[in-house]
Amino acid sequence: MKLIASAALAAAMSFVALGASADTLKVAFIDPLSGPMGPSGESGLKHFMFAAEELNADGGVNGAQVEVVGFDNKVNPKESLVQLQKAIDQGIRYVVQGNGSSVASALIDAIEKHNKRNPGEEVLFLNYAAVDPAFTNEKCSFWHFRFDSDADMKMEAVTDWVAAHPDIKSVYIIGQDYSFGKAVAAAAVRMLEVKAPEVKIVGNELHPLAKVKDFTPYVQKIINSGADAIITGNWGSDMVLLVKAAIDAGWDKPILTYYGGSTGAATAMGEAAVGKVKQVSEVVVNYPSSPEQEERIAKFEEKYPENNYYYHRAFNLMHFLDAAAEKAGSNDPVKVAFAMEGMEMDGAYGHLTMRKDNHQILQDLFVGTFSANPPRGVEGLPLGWMAEDKDHIAAAATSMETTCKMDRPEM
């Protein structure tokens, strides 16, 4: 035990020695890098590392080289807090995370408390994928900025899309039985009532999280209900199995998903899903954009041939960080946070605004369609995501009221 303790001490010391020096700006990437959600986290880390290289090639942030350090949180909120402490001890002041609203929630709380208890050592949390609307509403924090559109905003896009398709007369909502699945279902019901009162909701179903092995019975129920479209917030195997079962049963109408494009899903769904599965996201790589963006995608996929360009928001996030730091003239998180509020920027797929009132980014969204033989395929397959102009939803349309009452520190 002594041996272990001294080894631990030695390890801890080495961390202290590694602490941040003046000319690097370290960003802690706290996400799963092992276990079931490992692939998502790894893919995210690669995007951030690539974005950091981009900034460094451009002279860094206020002259400091950016370094992204990965911390494996095993999608466990408690383990995330241990990793957060490790990151803080290494002198890291910027934290990036995305997988799991439970983790994000724990980090928001912990960082809020840390910043209150340790003035002068504030940490900033830049959220790239945790989409629970609460984070920019009742649970909002000055120390948290979100670069993904939240679940309600995405549902705005989805329901706009449904309302624009008069052939869809009824929808079936199915989701995982936990807070996120319930929130998605509630938002869909609420927004459809307003935007498309003529669309009937013929089913609203919850199933336990990651426990269903065979979705056929659910699909049969959906088909029997005569629905014209499925809306689901499912992710992971729950999403893939649902899609596969639906297609096998001859379902040929839209399946509107949040996470149809997540890592590994395309392979699992296969060709049969073409034209049916839709995903709402801030990027569709086959949608025309600037040559710089085209080049960025090409370079990324060349550097990481196993991965596809997916987290465009990682680039948005890093560039906002860079711009805010330059505007503040400092890499100090408090100053950067103030500078980031209300900041605007032109992105590859439209204008971006970081709202001041709740720290939520406003960005254009797409309802992409899983298609055959796109210019850019995913996962080495001749399959990928396409979108047309009619699938493009403007940022303003996704803007929502907020209940956020933010406590700001003294400048």
């Binding site: 692939p39 336990p208 092995k213 065979d214 056929t216 129920k221 199995l241 096998d248 890592t263 996962e379």
Partner: protein
């Protein structure tokens, strides 16, 4: 009506897939007293091996060779691993297989990556066989049904009509006697473990492409297989069969019931405004096996058709 027909069909097919997994587990348990925690991992190995073999040759080769490969891996595990632990008792064996499940998962992730692999239904079977009440029925499902039934028949013939089967049957009811019959017990153990794993592998071959082949399919399927074996009665193949079909039907039927607890228990004053009242039967469907498991172990610890208590 259509709900009943579909639920029946789906329930039976799902049940048969469960039986493929649980029959191997039951065989191993009844011969060796080992509850193989890693059984679902062998199911996963079957799917991955089938993916590799299909890539190199064709699905039909995979259908035969992948289970054999899995069986060989299983036999190796028994020979070099489990046998060593045997002397330390059943808890040690259970823990060994628990660790093994961990290990197989991790190795699969390193060799095949963490994402799903592109193991798909062969084209010859990838078409809708018939349309029933507006929903298509995929041919592959019916193929699964056939493979499962063929395996069931083969297993039955093996057990009831061959000498090896007689020994196994003797071991089911009198586990301590086999050693006295002058048979090479370590050899029998290794074979049974291998065959049991091969059956799981076969389930992986036909289930992996229908569902998803990814490193988490074992953890997905694992607990439910135990439930089947315990409910059916440890060591009873008939019990495993009945329990598999029962669970398959129960789960598929429960999905189609929209009633909530408030509807069912409204008469004792459970309101739909409460948290419990809002839960529907369909929502609960995947949890039913575990409820049944706990219930069965209280009421009838031997399981439905088990001959002996543990």
């Amino acid at each position: 009506m259509e709900t009943i027909v579909f639920s029946l069909l789906n329930g039976v097919i799902y049940g048969l897939l469960l039986f493929m997994l649980s029959s191997g587990l039951t065989l191993i348990f009844s011969m060796m007293g080992v509850l193989n925690f890693a059984h679902a991992s062998f199911y996963m190995l079957g799917a991955y091996f089938a993916y590799t073999v299909t890539d190199a040759t064709s699905y039909w080769f995979a259908l035969i060779f992948a289970p054999i490969l899995v069986g060989l891996v299983g036999a190796g595990v028994e020979k070099w691993g489990l046998r060593r632990v045997h002397a330390n008792g059943h808890v040690a064996e259970l823990l060994f297989t628990f660790g093994l499940a961990y290990l197989i998962d991790e190795v699969i992730k390193i060799v095949y990556g963490r994402n799903a692999v592109d193991y798909r239904v062969p084209e010859a079977l990838d078409f809708p066989l018939f349309t029933l009440y507006g929903a298509q029925y995929p041919a592959y499902r019916i193929f699964m049904l056939f493979v499962a039934v063929a395996m069931l028949v083969a297993l039955w013939v093996l057990l009831k009509r061959t000498r090896a089967g007689l020994i196994i049957q003797a071991a089911l009811t009198h586990p301590h006697m086999v050693g006295h019959l002058g048979h090479n017990v370590p050899m029998i153990f290794m074979t049974v473990f291998g065959v049991g794993c091969a059956l799981a592998g076969l389930a992986g071959v036909i289930g992996g492409n229908y569902l998803v082949t990814d490193p988490f399919m074992a953890a997905y399927m694992g607990p439910i297989v135990f439930v089947v074996v315990v409910i059916g009665g440890m060591g009873s193949l008939e019990g495993a069969f009945v329990a598999s079909i029962l669970l398959g039907l129960l789960q598929t039927f429960a999905v189609s019931v929209d009633a909530s607890f408030a509807d069912l228990f409204g008469w004792i004053g459970l309101s739909s405004a409460t948290e419990v009242g809002r839960i529907t039967i369909a929502q609960l469907a995947p949890m039913l096996p575990y409820l049944l498991l706990v219930l069965i172990l209280f009421v009838r610890p031997r399981g439905l058709m088990g001959e002996r208590e543990l």
